[in-house]
Symmetry: C2
């Protein structure tokens, strides 16, 4: 973990199974923070509170719980979230606006404030703990895999670091895909610039993954920086290399989330190339990774290229960038469609290759621009249905 | 069937299983036609040809095949589609622009022109056949149910009729949801007005159903009118009542398509009320009927209201119309959420009711407008996955 970053996690009793469910990350000398929150119009109480202060870019800590999303819990839930922020601020000696909060887990059930308070009392007893593992596991709900990343680079002659952890995705206990990601870094930076960098990185990574197309009410991605190192931000190369460290950290966590998608057996890595602009490229990637027909074909290792082209064609705005005569489609590096005509391929051989792979690359060149976009999805399995038919 | 409408269907050999696969509808004295085609940017050859002439509103016939979509078949496929239009026009004694064509079935395989020509020779031998059943079954691919409708009303003292047939939906043999719907009616009407009425009716019915959110490359809905009856189009009440006959016919067919959705066990009937406008209401309905989380919950008969609200909240533009404090949600007429708070319900009783129902009504009042919108979807079952894991 990065020097000067303190973190921990405990089992407070919010989860009935005795697993860790309460944690924090604290960067006492933080100089900037940036935050991206769910776009769902229905937002959980902790998201509303974090939203309120995010523009300041002055978070020095995040305090979170798992096991309960504190969502659709009315005014009582909102008060509980306020109290969560308050107890963390008091324990850490911070002002309210320096503490972000986040919750993940069940929807529509009240989060017990006494449990949170008692847990906070234990959790914040020592403020010098650096237990990455405890903090990371306290975020998890039905995750099967731990998710962490550490990226570094030498920029301006100094060691620049980004470390982070995440939970999700899939429909996490019990109601929907809920993604949390918390990162820390060690550069002197203004909040506006950190927000700009982080927003772009989130847009290119976390926002380009999908397990089931369902946007959570609690999604929160947050980064906090402490000014241990300096970068010359006016140097385009240094800026770009720092962006890349943040991007790689986000990309690494995003792919780990997809790898833990509910019921997934195969990772779908979609690249749309030669798009006229990033927005359309993203729409087309998302249309492919969210198509039930593409997802079921992937599950069967079926090289069903017709479904992929149809999914591209149904993307919003596709008529501006998808022309059958111009596209080239490759599945697992095999060219299957070009110049408006199917390519004769050995289907049984390709099918066998897909069935034996745990990652399948889909590469669609649109032939109408210069922008490349990538995204990651899962197949759709019966296990997904088993997991999701009964929770309420 | 409506007087003056001729139709038939035969097994021409396009389908290898010997089932009917070639058919036509012919209205010799047609006065107007209207047509709505797939919005997919990738369109099959027959769609491109029908598109070319649809604005004239002068189709007097539709000639179609099933078993092969003639999609992603390159220039050869396009020539075959042109020849299809030509052979029908010559056989029926019509100009090219009076003949719409449509295809449905496998993607990426060439449609054999000799088979179509030999079939057309048999099919068009008599032009006085009125075999609705033969025509309707010639449209089907993997459909399990026949789909037809007949609606009538007395308007302006005359019997006004709309009859129709449809095929789809679900991922029909083998690649995607493919929907065709052909209707006939018996009023003197200008093409522009018929198009206006039909576009609205399609928008409110066929475009508000979903089995798997995948838009076909071949979708075609068409209506042809013969001037047997007259309506006073300047009379708003007569206009409205005629619209309603067309709307009911489309709605009836649309629901039949959903009822035949692949692997479906339950119909989801979603009504979004009190929306600020129709566009947002439609987005929210579609977000709910396409949510994998809502669909799996429906499959298990699970009253998971949190997923429904989250699906509403993720709809594009939802922030303009979804406010947790204003919404009221009813599942199967049971109020489950109101004024930002969950309602205490007897979950086991509601779950049992849902599990025993083959249709589940979801009613979401947004509390921020006056527009009501409805739509229809299916649950998501393991059978859907079985059907779609291997086709290529």
């Amino acid at each position: 973990m990065i020097e000067g970053v303190y973190l921990d996690g405990i089992a407070s009793g919010i989860k009935s199974n005795g697993k860790k469910d309460l944690g924090y990350i604290f960067v006492p000398d933080a100089c900037a923070s940036a935050c991206v929150l769910t776009q769902n119009a229905c937002r959980a109480a902790p998201v509303l509170i974090t939203e309120k202060h995010k523009k300041l870019g002055r978070f020095k800590a995040v305090f979170f719980n798992s096991g309960n999303a504190n969502m659709l819990t009315g005014s009582t839930g909102f008060e509980t979230a306020q109290k969560m922020q308050q107890v963390a601020a008091e324990s850490l000696g911070l002002s309210l606006e320096a503490v972000a909060i986040a919750s993940t887990g069940k929807i529509g059930e009240l989060l017990d404030l006494d449990t949170v308070n008692a847990g906070a009392f234990r959790l914040f007893q020592s403020l010098e703990t650096q237990d990455f593992e405890a903090c990371m596991t306290a975020m998890l709900t039905t995750d099967l895999l731990n998710k962490s990343t550490y990226q570094s680079a030498t920029i301006n002659g100094q060691k620049i670091e980004v470390a982070g952890m995440a939970k999700g995705s899939g429909m996490i206990e019990p109601n929907m895909a809920t993604m949390l990601a918390f990162l820390v870094t060690n550069v002197a930076i203004e909040p506006e610039m950190l927000q700009q960098i982080f927003s772009q990185a989130v847009s290119d990574t976390f926002n380009m993954i999908s397990v089931d197309s369902d946007t959570s009410t609690n999604d929160t991605a947050l980064i906090i920086s402490r000014p241990a190192r300096t970068i010359n931000w006016d140097d385009a190369d240094q800026f770009k290399r720092y962006y890349n460290v943040v991007y790689q950290a986000c990309r690494d966590l995003a792919i780990q989330i997809v790898r833990d998608g509910e019921g997934m057996t195969k990772l779908m890595h979609v690249t749309v190339r030669q798009a006229p602009n990033a927005a359309l490229g993203q729409q087309i990637v998302k249309s492919i990774i969210n198509s039930p027909l593409v997802k079921t074909a992937l599950h069967g290792g079926d090289p069903n290229w017709g479904r992929i082209i149809a999914a591209a064609g149904k993307a919003p705005g596709a008529s501006a960038g998808v022309r059958v005569d111009c596209i080239e489609l490759r599945i697992a590096n095999t060219l299957v469609f070009q110049s408006g005509e199917p390519i004769a391929i050995n289907t049984p051989v390709l099918r066998k290759e897909l069935q034996e792979s745990d990652t399948v690359a889909i590469d669609l060149a649109l032939g109408c621009g210069t922008v490349d976009v990538e995204g990651w999805g899962t197949d759709l399995s019966k296990t997904y249905i088993d997991i999701n038919v009964a929770y309420t």
